[in-house]
Symmetry: C2
Subunit: 219 residues, 2 copies
DNA sequence: AGTTATCTGTACCGATGAGTATGAAAAAGC
DNA sequence: GCTTTTTCATACTCATCGGTACAGATAACT
């Protein structure tokens, strides 16, 4: 299976990786086609022929990110045997991936198009869906843990997964602000230390009997 | 003190508030001058005469945001008598402010320019500094709490303030994703429930004797 | 009334945005 | 060697970007 016409002068995968890095650094709106062609080492028509328009290229980069970037951590985490293991693997893995020395800090799915103009609205929605999907997968995994007796039967998996999701998103912003790996991991340790299942108590896994917002104060 | 020349046809404060909303929704890069003039109900030269260029206007909007937006919650929180009260006021206030029905979801300081092109680099840095400043203020307040015996003497205020900062940033993204006020508040309840000082134990306030990363697993 | 100072509206500036037309170049198939 | 097919490089399109020149309008001050 050899191509017929003039062969490509560049490697498509390598070029996509370069594009991924640029999008990751600057976001969708902040990246111009000139930024892309310069980083990829190709010129404009080659880019369009190989990847389609800017939005299509961004989606390709997103898929690539899901395979090799921090987003890949979730997949491994979900396969851990215990709920505690899932959370630990996820948070530690993400803290490390967000501070990888050779890659942009933080998460492309968070920073790619958090708020934007109308022209990037579709991309923003796509990222929003991916974030929601990650949280949903996590929640299903915790639901399974509950069914297996790994989490107390009154655990609120919606709140738990949302909490973890929030911590991950927060770490992404913190990493973009320049937080070091050690700083993020220290927070992860604290979160894990507070992780309810680590205490073998269900009191903070739900609000059963108390109702949301009616908590005893500690003063 | 009456102005001399032709009087302004619009109210400067109202116009600034309109600009704030647009920046808050679309971010710095995602907002065009046409978006601004349309929302503010004035035309371009009036905008430039009254506020300077786009970046200056954004900074004015930021200052306004610090007074009336979610950022104002921090100020009230820092004045709470106990560390626990500070955190509770901050997290609850922010959860509510990020989901105010009449305002854009989330936080301008987080979403205004998280990642961007070169032209917005200065704005990005400014936002980064403001986030860091908030965390530093929180840390100083916790340090005071430690001095007052309100927190255990071995509490690591750097990690604690960073943790709270991460939760706030994460909630901002979550709110932008469409999370409801009740959903955020439920997470806040869980965080507060896990808040170490609420348990009158210092074991998860520091890693004393164990060292970061050497935590007992719960399996 | 006349002067001066400021604001408004239109119409414009050069630069850059994303996307493309076109012809030369380089390979395979015959 | 010639055709076919695909890629490459230059140079272009049109729209929009942030920012401004200029003339008319509207007020206070003298």
């Amino acid at each position: 299976m050899v191509a017929k016409g003039r062969p490509r002068k560049f490697d498509t995968n390598e070029a996509l990786d370069k594009a991924l890095i640029v999008f990751w650094q600057r976001g969708f709106e902040g990246t111009s086609l000139s930024d892309l062609t310069e980083a990829m080492g190709i010129n404009r028509p080659s880019l369009y022929a190989a990847f389609g328009d800017k939005e299509t290229l961004f989606r390709r980069a997103l898929d690539r990110y899901a395979e090799v970037g921090p987003a890949a951590v979730l997949h491994g985490a979900l396969q851990q045997p215990t709920a505690r293991g899932v959370i630990e693997h996820l948070l530690r893995g993400v803290a490390e991936a967000f501070t990888h020395p050779d890659r942009p800090a933080g998460c492309l799915v968070v920073q790619g198009a958090l708020s934007c103009g109308e022209t990037a609205e579709a991309v923003k929605q796509e990222l929003c869906c991916r974030r929601a999907s990650a949280e949903a997968q996590l929640r299903e995994r915790l639901e399974r843990a509950k069914a297996e007796g790994d989490l107390p039967p009154d655990a609120d998996t919606a709140i738990l997964s949302r909490y973890v999701s929030i911590v991950v998103k927060g770490m992404s912003v913190q990493a973009a602000d320049g937080a070091s790996r050690a700083e993020l991991l220290a927070v992860v340790d604290m979160v894990l230390n507070c992780w309810p299942a680590g205490r073998a108590t269900s009191e903070n896994l739900s609000n059963s009997g108390k109702g949301i917002g009616v908590l005893s104060r500690a003063e």
